[in-house]
Amino acid sequence: MSTTEIDRQWTTRLRKRVAGKLPPEKLLPDTQPTYVSSWIYVFGVTTLAALGVVIATGCLLAIRGPQWWHTSSVGHFINSTHLWSVEIFFFAMVIHLWGKYFMAAWRGGRALTWMTGVVTFLTSIATAFTGYVSQSNFDSQWISTQAKDGINSTGAGAFWNVLNSGQMLMWHIVLLPLAAVVLTVLHVLLVRVKGVVPPFEKSTEVAQ
């Protein structure tokens, strides 16, 4: 097989493209620009850490099935950890989002990074909502019967029935987390490829 032939392989092309865009020193950097020194940067990694804890506690809940936590004190505690990790996740994510907004973090070809972050945020809201309607308690009865009117008014309720607990549970534990994780990975990779947005230059602060 000739070198040219190898170079034309899809695998070779993909490897070269990935290695060019994201060399190891970018993927796992050991230095960062000196301007990356603010508490606001903590909330990005906190969001990621909380996502990991949310997934881990959700997996623990899944082991014994959806009714377990109603009848077991251990199950109820695991449910509490799932709830509070979600609260931490959203708290950190919202601060991260506002921080990035006020840094205008889309500058320098980072619009896709911003957009994947926003879609991840919206996907996370849907994921949390399906969790609330999958609790199989009074809260889920009330939230689902109220939310149906909003979703039905868009026409989406005909396909995404919030009163169908089985459908909501499947979306909560499979489809939406999968989407959220894929989007998060994409978002993080884009951050690594493009780097953290630099500060505004002094001369451009009041430019129109």
């Binding site: 620009p33 000196t34 603010s38 006020f102 926003v118 039905n152 005909a158 089985g166």
Partner: protein, 314 residues
């Protein structure tokens, strides 16, 4: 010709220094701290788990509310009976200007309140001669005969009573309805109606559309929710049972339900959804929207974020 630098779109190339950064250590420390914080919050506050409401509890604790709701399912005056898509074609449903989105999609989750909430559950009861005869009379009757019975029963039901745990409606010319509705009431109080509503499509099920719609048509569920600060005018969508933070991230969505005309319009839901769709699109497309993308530079909040960097500049 060089392209002009756009401060809200372009970023300056960093020519300054770099400092050590251990990304793996940072990640692991974050996971440990978040895990500890999660456990501490869980130990301190736990999580709410108010038991679900059953139709048995509803018909026992609020029998008149259950009976009048069942009547509204029978005479098609309930919320579900007049809902429109996706449950039926009884109304146009909510509209966003000329857009009738729900109606366009149609009744893809068909619900017939008479059959699904009354007749079919009654058919699941073990054979009882009087009820069997009445169900047979109902199924073989013409549409106009049924309408006449429903009308007469509904008029008499204004004076319905619960006597010794029995539903009593002294209706004349109401055909089989007095027996059927009394049996449905008994069925509800035994818990059999709960089961019948979820097993209409077979033994295994995870679809609670019918019992939830039935429950939501009454006031028992909403009265409990009101006490828990969960109704729409109490910022209910973002609240949770007990004193828990709930879905605080839905504050903006919930906010619109407190504002005129959304809080009073029959199209309130689709108006709120329309607003949220536009706002979400705005957030998504912020990098491309002049004005919106300039706010960070003009407000100079970033000076707080990068204060060390600016302090180090000459």
């Amino acid at each position: 010709m060089t392209k002009a630098f756009r401060p809200d779109v372009d970023a300056p190339e960093w020519k300054g220094g770099y400092s050590p950064y251990d990304i793996v250590k940072e990640g692991i420390i974050a996971v440990v701290i978040v895990s500890i914080l999660t456990v501490l919050l869980s130990v301190a506050f736990g999580s709410p788990d108010d038991p679900s409401i059953t139709i048995k509890a509803w018909s026992t604790n609020a029998p008149m509310d259950f009976a009048t709701t069942a009547l509204s399912e029978l005479n098609a005056t309930s919320g579900t009976a007049g809902y429109g898509a996706p449950y039926n074609n009884a109304s146009t449903g909510q509209q966003l200007g000329p857009l009738t989105l729900a109606k366009w999609v149609g009744d893809r989750i068909p619900v017939n309140t008479v059959n699904d909430f009354i007749i079919d559950p009654l058919k699941s009861l073990p054979k009882q001669p009087a009820l069997t005869a009445d169900l047979s009379q109902w199924s073989s009757a013409s549409g106009s005969a049924r309408a006449g019975w429903v009308k007469n029963y509904s008029q008499a039901a204004n004076k319905m009573q619960i006597v010794s745990g029995q539903l009593v409606v002294n209706a004349t010319n109401a055909g089989p309805l007095p027996v059927m509705m009394a049996d449905l009431f008994q069925m509800a109080r035994t818990g059999a109606l709960d089961q019948a509503l979820v097993t209409q499509n077979g033994f295994y099920t995870s679809d609670y559309t019918l019992p939830l719609l039935f429950l939501a048509d009454g006031t028992y569920l909403s009265n409990i929710a009101q006490k828990q600060h969960l109704t729409g005018d109490q910022w209910g969508m973002m609240n949770e049972t007990g004193n828990y933070p709930g879905q605080a991230w839905l504050w903006l969505y919930t906010f619109w339900y407190q504002v005129t005309p959304m809080n009073s319009s029959g199209n309130g839901d689709i108006l709120v959804w329309g607003i949220m769709m536009v706002l979400s699109a705005g957030l998504l497309l912020t990098p491309f929207i002049p004005g919106l993308r300039s706010i960070p530079r003009k407000t100079r909040v970033y000076r707080l974020i990068w204060r060390e960097h600016y302090r180090s500049l000459p």
